[in-house]
């Protein structure tokens, strides 16, 4: 006999899974309506303002006067802010420097409802950068609050981006491990152009690409500075899950070079359903540093460190297609979402997904790995799965280059020969399309619109 409590438990556990096409059927239509509403709301606002203006001759005259004054003010601000500094000129000044150094400090914390707001951050690191336009980038990461007990320098991570050797070397002193990645193409050079390299040129460009405003003047460490601020959600290309952006750049009014850069945002961590608050400050900028070529030679790695060498193929369309093919062969499907790609971007996560897979190709590969030593097994798997990681790098490249990429991995299968699996912009008049069966072609924007319209709802 079931008690009333049992019945309550059974009903509470009742769980229905939505049909596979439910999401696209409902959400696509809702999103379409939302888009139309947003457009309508913009045009309504414009129309209402226009109606108010046109209603009376006095407002017409007053509006004309305001327009003339605004134009005059606008012209005087065309190149500079009120105090004489334009952010575009700051960028031009930075670009004149051959090499620059800086320090950056991070603190990250999770905010959980009901938890002590004064809980110390769980990440509290400091990095010292040296960036050379000719040689590349290197940094050392040190714990801010855990100095070496012997009074020495306690570095737990070093990274070298050696442009001329197309090689990236990361050394974890904490784990006594290193990774050496060799690239065939300009991947490393391109990475310097993206925000995560912390190159001040890119940081200024990101603010310039957003809606920003002057914060007026202040004094930092005895230097008179002018501040620029953006809270634009489009910062770093409207990155997924980043909210409450607040970015500030303070510039020396005499040299027009950055003195301090502050970045704060909230990241929603989907897996754990938590908000992560990140705050970082970049300071101690050093401009036109004299760099010795020896500083960008591969570092000597201690004998007792273990390492991995990865030789990346070119990060291009061809290898991305290989990656997609492997996703299906080894894991049974295309990535379901960008988050799927992000979670599986590193080898360890990819390996764990492979271990659970039972596709014929996965079973064959598992068979091949039998009898190999642990390190041989790892190396063999790493090589086999490299194209899958290439696909993720290609996705990052399209996003970093603002190529308007779109992915339909959720609704397109390998059998869909005429359906768009992914696409990106090649030029104003051309898009590149990869279809479900992995053949690719270049199409016009009109043709793409037709193809996307035909996608399952």
């Amino acid at each position: 006999m079931k008690s009333l409590q049992d019945i309550q438990k059974i009903v509470a556990k009742f769980n229905v899974k939505p049909g596979p096409e439910m999401r696209s059927k409902v959400l696509d239509e809702a999103l379409e309506i939302q888009r139309n509403q947003n457009q309508q709301s913009i045009s309504d606002t414009k129309l209402n303002i226009w109606r108010i203006i046109m209603k009376s001759p006095i407002t017409k005259l007053a509006t004309a006067a305001v327009v003339v004054i605004a134009c005059l003010i606008g012209l005087s601000f065309w190149r500079t802010t009120g105090s004489g500094i334009a952010l575009a000129d700051v960028l031009a000044r930075i670009e004149k420097a051959n090499a620059f150094g800086s320090s950056r400090q991070w603190s990250e914390s999770e905010k959980i409802t009901g938890e002590d707001p004064n809980k110390p951050p769980y990440v509290d690191d400091a990095r010292t950068y040296l960036i050379s336009q000719e040689y590349g980038l290197k940094f050392k990461e040190q714990p801010k609050e855990q100095p070496d007990p012997n009074g020495g320098e306690s570095t737990f991570l070093e990274e070298y981006w050696l442009l001329q050797k197309k090689t990236k070397i990361s050394i974890s002193h904490k784990k006594k491990e290193y990774t050496r990645e060799e690239f065939e193409d300009d991947w490393l050079e391109r990475q310097l152009e993206w925000p995560w390299a912390n190159d001040p040129r890119v940081l200024v460009k990101e603010i310039l690409g957003c809606k920003y405003e002057s914060m007026g003047r202040a004094t930092i460490d005895g230097i008179e500075v002018e501040g620029f601020q953006t809270t634009d959600p489009n910062w770093v290309g409207n990155a997924p899950n980043i909210r409450q952006v607040d970015v500030k750049m303070w510039v020396d009014v005499k040299t027009w070079l950055p003195v301090r850069y502050e970045e704060a945002y909230v990241y929603f961590e989907e897996k754990r359903q938590r908000f992560e608050h990140t705050h970082s400050v970049m300071h101690d900028f050093r401009w036109d540093v004299v760099v010795d070529a020896a500083e960008f030679e591969p570092p000597v790695i201690p004998d007792d460190y273990t390492g991995t060498v990865v030789k990346w193929p070119s990060i291009n369309e061809e290898n991305a297609i290989q990656g997609l093919k492997l996703w299906v062969e080894l894991l049974g499907n295309y990535p379901k979402s960008i988050m799927d790609m992000i979670v599986l971007r590193d080898f360890t996560a990819l390996r764990s997904a492979f271990e659970k897979s039972e596709t014929p190709a996965a079973m064959r590969l598992k068979e091949e790995l039998k009898g190999l030593s642990q390190s041989d097994k790892t190396n063999r798997l790493r090589v086999a799965m490299l194209p899958m990681q290439c696909l993720n790098k290609f996705r990052i490249k399209l996003g970093g280059d603002k190529k308007d990429p779109a992915y339909y991995w959720k609704i397109v299968t390998p059998k869909d020969t005429d359906k768009v699996l992914m696409r990106w912009k090649v030029s104003d008049n051309e898009y590149r399309v990869i279809y479900g069966d992995l053949h690719a072609e270049t199409v016009t924007p009109d043709k793409l619109a037709e193809l996307e319209k035909a996608l399952p709802k």
Partner: protein, 180 residues
């Protein structure tokens, strides 16, 4: 929840990302509530479709006094009720067992669970709608009796009685099945 408040704030300002997130977060939950009320997955999907379309269309009018989860469940329950009134008949028994799934379990446990779910679904469909609604909103949507009473403009005691009678009937129906 802070995230829900932030999502709703962004949604009301036309954020497609927020709409997508709300959908993904509550789709399974709302389809469960709708299916339990209507006992028909196709009808439940229609209700969910109608709800999201009207949710978007009236985004600027949405006012949240409690939590988003309960708000969404209330809206879906209202639509389900209207649908039933419109049909002027009790909903048909579930015709799509395949689309009902429980949490991921080992294969043998899953088979047992599926059978239990189907039996439960049949039992729920035999309850009068008013009792079924209170049971689903209270147990599935975590709504308090006072909230349900307010929603249905009736007294808390009536809601409690409907819940108690409904649960008793469910117990007698389930105990007569092979569910021991």
């Amino acid at each position: 929840m802070l995230e829900d408040k932030l999502l709703l704030w962004k949604f009301k300002r036309g954020s497609s990302e927020a709409l997508e997130r709300i959908y993904d977060k509550y789709e399974a939950y709302l389809i469960t509530v709708a299916t339990a009320l209507l006992n028909n997955t196709h009808a439940a999907e229609d209700v969910l479709h109608d709800f999201f379309i009207s949710f978007v269309k009236s985004a600027d009018k949405v006012k949240l006094h409690g939590n988003l989860k309960a708000y969404l469940a209330t809206c879906v329950a209202n639509l389900a009720r209207n649908r039933i009134k419109r049909m002027q008949r009790e909903p048909i028994a579930l015709d799509d067992n395949d689309s009902i799934e429980s949490a991921v379990l080992e294969p043998d446990l899953l088979a047992i669970q599926e059978e239990e779910t189907a039996i439960l679904n049949q039992a729920i469909s035999q309850l009068p709608y008013e009792q079924r609604e209170v049971i689903v909103l209270h147990l599935q949507a975590d709504m308090r009796f006072t909230q349900i009473a307010k929603l249905r403009s009736t007294s808390v005691n009536t809601i409690r009685s409907r819940y108690r009678y409904g649960l008793e009937k469910l117990r007698s129906l389930l105990n007569s099945e092979v569910l021991k």
